[in-house]
């Protein structure tokens, strides 16, 4: 969650923005209030503010990223998803975004609960630990996976809470979080929506991207 590109990032760009960020941006209604948690150098907020006329703000752990954002005129604070989300009131934002960061938090379940509490919607992307390449590296080579999406060795990875797409969906279910939209990104950055058929998404999706909201008390 430092200011560099997060683990599992698809680096190619399309229309001037990283493909995974574009996918997130496309889910956001114009003119929304958005909080990007782990906003890095602020690329997504800048895009949302420019292209979607959003009121986009950010939280970033790394001071270098924060200073770069603020120096570029973006409203970003230095902070931590694990500790700082609890400050915000309910429904403070239309969307709260957590890109490829949940696996690096200390208490992902609490973070997730905060995301859907302070945002009317949350957009969460995760690296899928059940992708076939990961399975292959563990099953055949007997080694912890190291690849383009998970570039760290086991001893220096910031990722401490891995999950698969299926694990994530099941946690949402358990927490009463509604998955409004679910997409799997393959290793080329191609996006595919998946509904109830989790199997293919969980094997061939390198990342899962989810649009979430908490179940309204009825």
């Amino acid at each position: 969650m430092d200011s560099s590109t997060p683990p599992g990032t698809v680096r190619e760009t399309r229309n001037g923005i990283r493909i995974d960020l574009k996918l997130v941006a496309d889910m956001i209604e114009p003119g929304s209030r958005v909080l990007d948690v782990g906003c890095g150098d602020g690329e997504l907020i800048d895009y949302l503010n420019r292209v979607k006329q959003a009121d986009g703000r950010g939280i970033e752990l790394g001071m270098e990223g924060v200073n770069a954002c603020v120096a570029a005129g973006l409203p970003v604070i230095q902070g931590d998803a694990d500790t700082d989300l609890s400050d915000y009131p309910d429904n403070a934002f239309d969307y709260v975004i957590l890109s490829l960061t949940l696996q690096a938090t200390r208490a992902p379940r609490d973070v997730l609960a905060n995301l859907v509490r302070i945002g009317r919607h949350a957009i969460v992307s995760i690296p899928n630990f059940a992708h076939w390449r990961v399975r292959w590296q563990i099953a055949v080579h007997g080694r912890m996976p190291v690849n383009k999406a998970l570039p760290y060795q086991w001893y220096d990875t910031p990722n401490i809470h891995f999950c698969s797409i299926r694990d994530f969906v099941s946690l949402c279910d358990e927490m009463g979080i509604v998955v409004e939209r679910a997409m799997a990104l393959d290793h080329r950055g191609g996006a595919r929506r998946f509904g109830r058929s989790l199997y293919f998404a969980n094997v061939f999706g390198e990342q899962g991207v989810f649009l979430l909201r908490r179940r309204t008390a009825a």
């Binding site: 703000r57 230095q78 700082d84 915000y88």
Partner: protein, 394 residues
């Protein structure tokens, strides 16, 4: 211009200083927190740049404890550059080619604005300790009256460090609709026990000086220079850091090769502090020091809101940029973070950066490139949002 005769503050008439002065509280008095009504009080201020036709490009700068309205020009008393002249000026971070910059001497100050050195109209003697105890909120109320006088409905930004930052927070809390952006720097939403303790040390030093005369030194033609100098020395230590002191002075000796086995200023750091103390008394008033430090000690923004700081900013439309410095132990990053947490809880638009610097609290007065970069970015971004356009590339 040449500095005025600078030997003694008693010898210079603050009313004859350059800059502007206005008498406020004539129609409606300023009701202070202590209950006293202040009428016909003078506010001395300085401006830089030009107010645009829409009256939308005004920036109010709030000065710190020992600062004044001479932000960006040669100081008329000391002859030194203005305290923020590296930051404020044509083409600088706060660009006076774009913005109309206003800075007023705070209430209780000694550079032309009403304070304890002024004559009490009822007695025709200096107010001294009869001057009402003022608060930061009172200072800000007086500033708001000045802004009214200048015909400005809404400031583009209110910016200040330390005590100036407290005024910025008070502005954002009291007049959120009269400002677009707020930049509180190296500051806190309340004074901690440690902050109060250091101030009490300074005040006791002043009051222990036999020349203080129960505050009536002006009438008796003396000045508590030794007390004020000690107060300044103690204060000055809190503005620095161990790293900065070590880098500047270490244990180096002052103009000598060996220890003298006496109480002369053997060490460079002693000589430096003595110099700081002795030059300070030439430009500052002891009773002003008491009043202003008291106002800072009384500051507790959350207290007015049932102890919940976020309530001070509820629904705030203000765009904030909170800045702290790593080596500032007087108003440490944790204090700024408390402000940021409260602003988050109020869902306010806030940026927050901590600048790496070993210069201590004084960092905000010094040329720190990262600090300047962040300020420039925030001001440009805010100006663009406010419809003042982006600055030319620089």
């Amino acid at each position: 211009m040449a500095p005025l005769k600078s030997r003694s503050l008693a010898e210079w008439d603050a009313r004859s200083l350059p800059g502007h002065q206005v008498v406020l509280g004539q129609a409606v008095p300023l009701t202070l927190d202590c209950g006293t009504e202040l009428r016909d009080f003078t506010v001395a201020y300085q401006t830089y740049g030009t107010l645009n036709a829409q009256r939308s490009n005004a920036i109010l700068i709030c000065h710190a404890l020992t600062g004044d309205q001479f932000v960006a020009e040669t100081h008329p008393v000391t002859g030194k550059p203005g305290w923020w002249s590296t930051l404020v000026g044509p083409g600088r971070v706060i660009d006076t080619d774009r913005f109309f910059v206003v800075c007023s001497n705070i209430l209780g100050g000694c550079m032309g604005t009403a304070g304890p050195t002024d004559l009490n109209p009822q007695t025709n003697k200096p107010w001294a300790l009869d001057f009402p105890v003022i608060t930061i909120r009172d200072m800000v109320r007086a500033q708001a009256m000045l802004i009214d006088h200048l015909g400005i409905d809404r400031l583009f930004a209110v910016i200040g460090g330390s005590l100036g930052g407290m005024q910025v927070l008070e502005w954002a809390s009291s007049y959120p609709d009269r400002m677009f952006a707020a930049v509180p720097i190296a500051t806190a939403a309340h004074h901690t026990a440690q902050n109060i303790a250091f101030h009490e040390l300074g005040r006791q030093a002043i009051m222990a000086d036999p020349d203080w005369r129960g505050g009536n030194y002006q009438l008796e033609g003396v000045r508590p220079e030794r007390g004020l100098a000690v107060a300044r020395m103690a204060g000055h230590i809190t503005y620095l850091s161990e790293a900065a002191l070590t880098r500047k002075f270490g244990r180096r000796l002052q103009n000598r090769d060996e220890l003298t086995y006496g109480f002369d200023a053997d060490f460079q750091v002693e000589s430096y502090l003595r110099h700081q103390g002795s030059t300070f008394v030439d430009r500052f008033d002891a009773n002003s020091y008491l009043y202003i430090t008291r106002a800072m000690d009384y500051f507790d923004l959350a207290a007015r809101h049932s102890g919940v700081l976020a309530e001070a900013f509820r629904g705030s439309p203000v765009r904030f940029c909170v800045i702290s410095f790593t080596s500032d132990w007087l108003y440490p990053t944790a204090e700024c973070r408390t402000i940021v947490h409260a602003l988050n809880a109020a869902a306010a638009n806030v940026s927050f950066v901590e600048i790496t610097s070993d210069q201590g609290h004084d960092s905000f007065l010094l040329e720190e490139p990262e600090f300047f970069r962040v300020m420039t970015g925030f001001i440009d971004g805010a100006a663009e949002r406010y419809g003042l356009g982006r600055s030319a590339e620089r």
